[in-house]
């Protein structure tokens, strides 16, 4: 009798959980307590690492320090080049009048557990709803995309990895932009490209980057490298196997990408406001130095403002009075306001 009641109760729960979202708060409250067990189960390894780092020998530490210093130097060098390239990229994009590539914000999260079920590839990380994580958020490691957030709990969340059998990601070949869909195979070292034509230009060693077409993953992050391409004349499509670039089963520290969730209109309005904020002190001081100084700030809102610098610097000394300002600031705003050209320039005009 009790079996019957409990069985009916669990079946009802399963159906409700699968179809509706009523049980989500219950689950998240329960997870608040229960997810500690992942943390506790992980404790021995954490302790071991702590002890190992405490008693790491001096020479080892010195060697590691040296290595890190050289690496930092190398990365800084590369970063200098990157700044120049980013600026150039923004200018070229403005020439093409296309939407600007927005700098995504990232946050570091730590792996605290693997899913015990060996047939799914899911991991648990130590950032949750309270840290601003959202459902479907992309997760990276240092080498490439890892997966996306599929379940939110208050202080933890579950991430579905790229190699899970239920996961697919739109990619493109970095070399020529050929688009494809990479599906997980259940093997942590393998992705398969589905429905790639036999004659498609894809070969061993090609880097696959995310194409951003699914509106879920940001474009341009490395996903996998092609390992083998098999042309079987009996099959309608080529069999393409790739190895994920991210260390899916080894990385302990992950990056959560906070991509820009704003709509193009909002982004345009905010860009216009930022533009105005830059213009105003420029008018007050009437020096070209202010807009120029504002340009190195690499925030997404400020990047599109870069072209304003040459325009404003040429205009500001000659036209110090504020009445002339809207005319000078108008053309640079247009590319900055990413999508609707009609609405965006209107904002600064109304305000002045």
């Amino acid at each position: 009798m009790r079996l019957l009641v409990l069985a009916v109760l669990s079946v009802t729960l399963m159906v409700v959980d699968a179809r509706f979202t009523v049980l989500k708060p219950v689950r998240s409250q329960m997870s608040l307590v229960l997810m500690q067990s992942y943390w506790i189960a992980d404790l021995p390894q954490r302790l071991y690492q702590g002890v190992a780092s405490q008693f790491g020998s001096r020479t080892e530490l010195i060697a590691e320090n040296e290595k890190l210093k050289t690496e930092a130097l190398l990365l800084q060098g590369r970063l200098q080049k990157l700044a120049a390239l980013t600026e150039q990229n923004v200018r070229l994009r403005e020439l093409l009048n296309s939407s600007a590539l927005v700098n995504e914000k990232v946050e570091v999260a730590e792996l605290i557990g693997m899913d015990p079920n060996p047939f799914t590839h899911r991991i648990i990380i130590n950032k949750g709803e309270r840290d601003g994580v959202v459902l479907g958020q992309p997760v990276l490691d240092a080498r490439g995309l890892m997966g996306q957030v599929v379940e939110l709990m208050p202080y933890t969340s579950r991430v579905l990895l790229l190699t899970d059998t239920t996961h697919s990601i739109p990619v493109q070949v970095n070399r020529n932009g050929l688009r494809a869909i990479a599906s997980g195979t259940g093997n942590p070292e393998r992705l398969e490209l589905r429905h790639v034509a036999d004659t498609a230009d894809i070969k061993e060693g090609d880097l696959l980057v995310s194409s951003g077409l699914g509106q879920r993953f940001p474009a341009g992050y490395p996903v996998a490298t092609v390992k083998e391409v098999i042309h079987d004349s009996g099959q309608p499509f080529a069999i393409v196997r790739a190895v994920p670039t991210a260390a899916l089963n080894r990385s302990r520290y992950l990056l959560l990408v906070f991509s820009d969730g704003r709509s193009p209109e909002q982004r345009a309005a905010e860009a216009a406001q930022a533009q105005e904020a830059i213009d105003h002190p420029g008018e007050a001081a009437a020096t070209p130095a202010t807009p120029a100084a504002a340009t190195p700030a690499a925030t997404p809102a400020a990047t599109p403002a870069k072209p304003a610098a040459p325009a404003a610097s040429s205009a500001a000394p000659s036209h110090a009075p504020a009445s002339r300002a809207p005319a000078t600031s108008k053309p640079p705003v247009k590319p900055a306001a990413t999508k609707p050209p009609a609405a965006a320039p209107a904002t600064p005009r109304e305000r002045q």
Binding site: L3, L34, M35, P118
Partner: protein
């Protein structure tokens, strides 16, 4: 006699369940994941044979819910399976007491195997189909672990006089 004795050291039972929950999520090497024994089911099987007046299907159901939250499966899936296991063990209780250890292991193997088949059926319904034969491995490992779990917990129970 048993009913007269005050309930003692009941917290130890819950402590073992807590340890069981920890063991069921503890990290294992990749190749050993498919052999992970059903710790909670083993503990439930022992305690519902030893303390049938205390540990029953309701306990099993609640522990199953906890496991569902931990595993991220549908709420109720593991609850149903643990309830089923407890029900079968309780209905076989009188026989299990008479059986020698190897026969007990066989019973555990069959019961857990059945439960795993229900698990397979449920997860196929929800869309994550799993390789069939590998699913029986946890039941096998659990059956092999049963003597140790059984003797260990019996010793614990005698030592602490849990009832």
């Amino acid at each position: 006699m048993v009913s007269h004795a005050p309930a003692r050291n009941g917290w130890v039972v819950w402590f073992t369940f807590l340890v069981g929950l920890l063991l069921s999520v503890s990290p294992l090497p990749q190749f050993m994941e498919i052999f992970r024994p059903l710790w909670l089911a083993l503990l439930l099987a022992f305690w519902c044979l030893a303390l049938p007046h205390k540990i029953g299907m309701t306990t099993a159901w609640m522990l199953g819910l906890a496991e569902d939250v931990l595993y991220g499966t549908l709420l109720g899936q593991n609850a149903l399976i643990l309830t089923l296991i407890t029900f079968l063990m309780m209905s076989l209780q009188q026989r299990m007491r008479m059986f020698p250890m190897w026969q007990q292991c066989l019973v555990i193997l069959v019961v857990f195997g059945l439960a795993q088949l229900v698990q397979l059926w449920l997860s196929a319904l929800t869309g994550n189909r799993q390789p069939t034969l590998a699913l029986v491995l946890p039941a096998l490992v659990s059956a092999l672990l049963w003597p140790w779990v059984s003797y260990g917990l019996r010793g614990l129970r005698k030592r602490l006089k849990i009832n």
